[in-house]
Amino acid sequence: MFLFQAATPDINLTLIAPELIVGIAGVIVMMVDAFGRRGQCWLTGSLSIVGLAASAIASVWLWTSWVGPRTAFNGMIVLDELRLSFTLIFVIVAILTILISSIWIETEKLPAGEYHSLLLFATSGMMLMASAGDLVIVFLGLEILSIATYVLAGFRRTDVRSNESSLKYFILGSFASAFLLYGIALVYGATATQSLPGTTNIATIAARANSSLYPPLLLAGAAMMLVGFGFKIATAPFHVWTPDVYEGAPTPVTAFMAAGPKAAGFASFLRVFVFGFPIATAVVSTGGFAHKAWLGALAVMAVLTMSVGNIVAIVQNNVKRMLAYSSIAHAGYALVGFVAAGAATTIEDRSAALSAVAFYLLTYAVMNMGAFAVVTFIARRGDQQTNVDDYNGIGFASPVLAFSLSIFLLSLFGMPLTAGFMGKLVVFSAALKQGYAWLVVIGVLNAAISAYYYLRLIIVMFFRERTETWDVPRLPASLALALVLTILGVFYLGLFPGRVLNAFQARPTISLQLR
């Protein structure tokens, strides 16, 4: 009886509607696959897309209908622009992944239903990570996501590389999860007060960060979580698993992993650190060091991540591996915005920096999915042709593919007119505003380095002649649709990003000064 009184469950299903819809869609797809005829790729695929679209509609509805940040389930779930913008990214990534992978499922004769339902579960896990207001939900979402992704990475059961990738991902991913969990436990202990037990609620952590009984414990917990998250979003020096896993996993799954789970990691990472250890606590002597410490560590990680990603990418001969290192580098650019969000002293600046990171990851998702769409198609059966040499002189043999890929590569480099440029612009602007000029200079120098390996693929495609024959493959409809969507996205976000940027920024409902 008193249990109910102690905690009235603050149930609000509308607030988790996007997650619910995707989860239910996943179950339906699984059922259809189990009881319907096997191997109907188009059926489960289109069901999944319908589910994802419904979820997108639900989140847009949430976006337009609600005012001010809200929480539900006793603060377990929060609703704000940060969550919704990331939800949008996940839906886009999942839909594009389905479009890209349809051709691959058919040529490899893989069970489509399983694949699609796993993808949907992973997506609901990602959404949960973005909407978590509590470290426990973060962990829950992460596990839902991770377990589905481990299976996806090893989806080509007969391929040794795929198995290796899956196993590596599983072992190292569990390792990282353990770090994260340990960090959560330490933070729980550190936030206990003399009268109250510890907390895993992010808002409460922020409130208690100054009154921690054991400040070093808080610092250790934050450090552990930093490692755990750093692992998930593949920042240097926790990036070592990425190239192997990305190279071995089936190409559409690699595309998904580089864009989706990475963004999900960022969503939670941002939420926990920017909101959990905010600058507001930094002025007070006891809790201040936690904020300063993670901000400094993150700036160093950003430099390392950008530099390692870009420099090592130069020497790669496998396109998937190159894109893996490029994805590491892009996490570094996003971290520059993250640092700006952490250092921001006003709500407006913080929201601008957070929206910059979200926008950056959206642009990265679009252009990266586009690039991988082409790579998947060129790789053919069994991911055979993924070396740079396989792209020799295909430029004028299949101009549609080659020019699309060039657009995505130039966008990844950050060429103006494309999404990649706007992403970098907003992220670097946010950092420059907080006085991180040195970080931005390192960032742009890295962008210049990255030109080398992105151009290399363009050079190979257009400037070299093909020696062996290249039978121009026919573009299947689903892939063509994915390419059209991503190219339109690249130019839309590059030329008219205003609407999206405005939507991603928190509406100024509260005017509380952070410091």
């Binding site: 007119l417 931005v440 200079v441």
Partner: protein, 526 residues
């Protein structure tokens, strides 16, 4: 029409490129038709650009034809384009060189014509965009966007070492311009801190700087000047940042070299004149001695290296380093004469070096070699070619009555008399040797290529220029003569804008006049 003229000029080539792509999908499309499409659109753009000549020049913010709309409110970028006396001529130079380049590719480009002409057209709109943008972000966008088509032009249709040259060109320029991007964003926030509103708008920025509402600290101005100047000096190219130039020029197809030398290099000097002088007048004065020193080194170095080149195209490429050094010298003399001379020299260089590259392309098309030693005595089999080539070379040397003389004379006159140039007579004497060296390398090259006895069978059998080739160089040759004898028609239209730009340097902020360090002696005497 008049109101949207600039937008039409920017978009017309894009529409042309789209037309070409659309045409290539129609059944029965012929590759050879694409050059007609390109020729049509570039000629139309040239004719339209002549409409810009209406009216007279204005002050620095009095842009004659101006368009200004919000573009991305979230980042504070605007679509603000305008033309004044400075950009007017550069736009017309661009639109003039484009149909000529298309004509010069008529038979030289045989493979992948649809893509080639589409890229040429895209390049044209990026270049026009650079010269008319008045929003820094928009400027940056066009500045970078011009890289991609040129990268492809060099890489696909270039010479043997084209890949190396293309990558070097791209990365060199990208490094510089990315640092400029940091400067642009920093300027945005400095303006935001000073006035509460961030802006990339050049007109607004200069206005707040002039009114004193926004003041740049010397430190900030120092770094911002460097960030901008680095990007522009790579593009100019100023010694020692010139090492991409000879590779790119040499390996590019003829039309690519013409555009590179004729237009892309001008983006650098135009940027210095427009943005560095307009936004950072104090730092411009501070850095003037350094820039002048580098310019003079470039003048002499470029000339000396040009002298020993065995390859005609490389020779012309190195002569560009020398000529562009004159432009920078003229700009940093901070006198009206010098800056007018620099602007004039930009046009001269575009016309005469463009023509020289065309001639090199013509003999390359015939003999498939550019080595000086392979030629000799071309005057006998190719009299028309030889006559024209000699005229273009003399224009490049700076012979009186041809255009090169006017620009170089103005520049040297002002650098001698300017107070801003320290040790003016040494600087001017050294720069003056550049003209002598130019005579040496050009005439020596002419002697070995055009004159003398016809050395080989292959040379004796060469065909002279055909009607198309004469037609495409004739406008340039006439322009050389015209610009040499009647420069005032050009200088009058740019005078007000150049003078306004000079005034910014002389009086950086309202009420804060600096001593006469920048007025020239001749003016003081007046």
């Amino acid at each position: 029409m008049q109101n949207y003229l600039l937008t039409i000029l920017i978009l017309l080539p894009v529409i042309g490129a789209a037309t070409g792509v659309a045409y290539s999908f129609t059944p029965g499309a012929k590759e050879s038709h694409h050059r007609w499409i390109a020729l049509g659109f570039t000629t139309l753009a040239f004719l339209l650009s002549l409409l810009l000549l209406k009216g007279s020049g204005g002050g620095i913010n009095a842009f004659r034809i101006e368009e200004n709309y919000p573009w991305i409110a979230a980042v504070g970028a605007r679509y603000h384009v305008g033309v004044d006396g400075i950009s007017l001529w550069l736009v017309i130079l661009t639109t003039l060189l484009m149909p000529i380049s298309v004509l010069s590719s008529w038979t030289a480009i045989t493979k992948r014509q649809p893509t080639y002409y589409a890229l040429m057209l895209l390049l044209e709109s990026a270049m026009i965009g650079v010269f008319v943008s008045l929003d820094l972000l928009l400027f940056y966008l066009f500045f970078e966007a011009s890289l991609v088509p040129m990268f492809f032009l060099i890489g696909v249709w270039g010479g043997e070492r084209r890949i190396y040259a293309a990558v070097k060109f791209f990365i060199y320029t990208a490094v510089g311009s990315l640092l400029m991007l940091v400067g642009i964003i920093a300027l945005y926030f400095i303006h935001q801190n000073a006035t509460g509103v961030g802006t990339f708008d050049y007109a607004v920025l200069t206005e707040t700087l002039r009114s004193g509402a926004m003041a740049l600290s010397p430190r900030a101005e120092f770094w911002l000047f460097l960030a901008f100047a680095f990007a522009f000096c790579i593009k100019v190219p100023l010694w020692p940042l010139h090492t991409w130039l000879h590779d790119a020029h040499t390996e590019a197809p003829t039309a690519g070299s013409v555009i590179l030398a004729g237009v892309l290099l001008k983006m650098g000097t135009y940027g210095l004149l427009r943005f560095n002088f307009g936004l950072f007048p104090n730092a411009s004065r501070y850095f003037a001695p350094l820039m002048i020193t580098l310019a003079v080194i470039g003048i002499i170095y470029g000339a000396l290296v040009a002298m020993v080149q065995p390859d005609v195209k490389r020779l012309v490429a190195y002569s560009s380093v020398s000529h562009m050094g004159f432009v920078v010298l003229g700009l940093f003399s901070f006198t009206e004469q010098g800056m007018q001379g620099a602007l004039y020299q930009m046009l001269n260089h575009g016309v005469s070096t463009g023509a020289l590259f065309l001639f090199v392309g013509m003999i390359y098309e015939r003999r498939h070699t550019r080595m000086i030693s392979d030629f000799g005595g071309l005057v006998r089999p190719m009299p028309w070619f030889s006559t024209f080539f000699v005229i273009a070379s003399l224009s490049s040397i700076g012979l009186p009555f041809l255009n090169g003389f006017v620009g170089e004379f103005l520049i040297m006159l002002s650098s001698w008399t300017s107070f801003a140039v320290q040790h003016a007579w040494i600087v001017t004497m050294l720069a003056g040797t550049g003209v002598i060296w130019a005579a040496v390398y050009m005439l020596w090259m002419l002697q070995r290529v055009v004159f003398g006895t016809t050395t080989s069978e292959a040379n004796a059998k060469l065909l002279d220029l055909n009607a198309r080739e004469i037609g495409l160089v004739l406008p340039l040759l006439l322009l050389m003569l015209f610009m040499g004898v009647y420069p005032s028609i050009f200088l009058n239209r740019s005078r007000a804008s150049v003078e306004a730009a000079r005034q910014v340097i002389a009086n950086p902020a309202a009420g804060r006049t600096i001593n006469v360090a920048n007025a020239s002696k001749s003016e003081a005497q007046r």
